[in-house]
Symmetry: C2
Subunit: 147 residues, 2 copies
């Protein structure tokens, strides 16, 4: 149930880019500021670029920046691609639980719980992470109080 290091680094890179959105930043900068190895970051950034969360420009004066506004980068969307397990998830073919054996029924229930996890993250964007006073925060506070 723990997020992978790859997801952790992906989220940190997005936060960093969101906080420095007025300029292109380099992988070197992020590596130094977060004390994360450049090799790890290159793999992370390469994938974030492939998934269109990040835009990269090569050459002098180049660097990376967010590919869309932080308001349009959804946490559920990010995690559903950065977590390899979720991308490869084998959803049980039949959802008619009565027809399944115990192992498959368990898979259906676990899959159902994962959906609830991702649907909750779908309520939050990178902008909610970056900025206080958003509607999302009020939602969280409300739910925590009610729970």
């Amino acid at each position: 149930m723990r997020l992978t290091r790859f997801t952790d680094y992906s989220l940190r890179v997005l936060i960093y880019l969101g906080q420095n959105n007025d300029s292109r930043v380099t992988i070197n900068q992020i590596s130094q500021d977060y004390d994360i190895s450049k090799n790890h970051l290159m793999k992370v950034v390469s994938n974030l670029t492939r998934w269109k969360f990040v835009a990269a420009q090569r050459g002098p004066g180049g660097g990376i920046q967010l590919n869309r506004p932080a308001e349009e980068i959804n946490l559920g969307e990010v995690i559903s691609v950065t977590e390899k397990y979720l991308r490869e998830l084998d959803v049980p073919g039949s959802h008619d639980a009565d027809q399944l054996n115990a192992d498959s029924r368990l898979s259906v229930f676990l899959h159902h719980a994962l959906q609830a996890y991702l649907e909750t993250l779908d309520c939050f964007t990178l902008a909610d992470v970056l900025k206080p006073n958003s509607e999302a925060h009020k939602l969280v506070q409300l739910n925590v109080e009610v729970a």
Copy 2:
């Protein structure tokens, strides 16, 4: 986001015991039937016993069995203890997201999603995994159709 092997084995042991609830079973039996190493299983069963999901009796004629009816073994409860990460989860001290920095706000949102995951699993018991035609299955089918 993937469950650990420890949780996977714990759930399999509980399913096995639920399916053989009229007799005590031995770790040897489970090891042979599931092709899981005896050493792994001993650690799993020792913890399931400590957490009161399983009752163990030593000596000749001894073995293990469920410590309560399958209807009272809740999947959310099982996973919240078998996943070491969840037991050790450092819940952000303040839930007032406006007062936090970006990293802590992200932690609050992720924690919120984990709660949704566990709350969904709280709807299902070991009995739902073992038996078709429960209310829980109807719930899942309904939600899948609506989604």
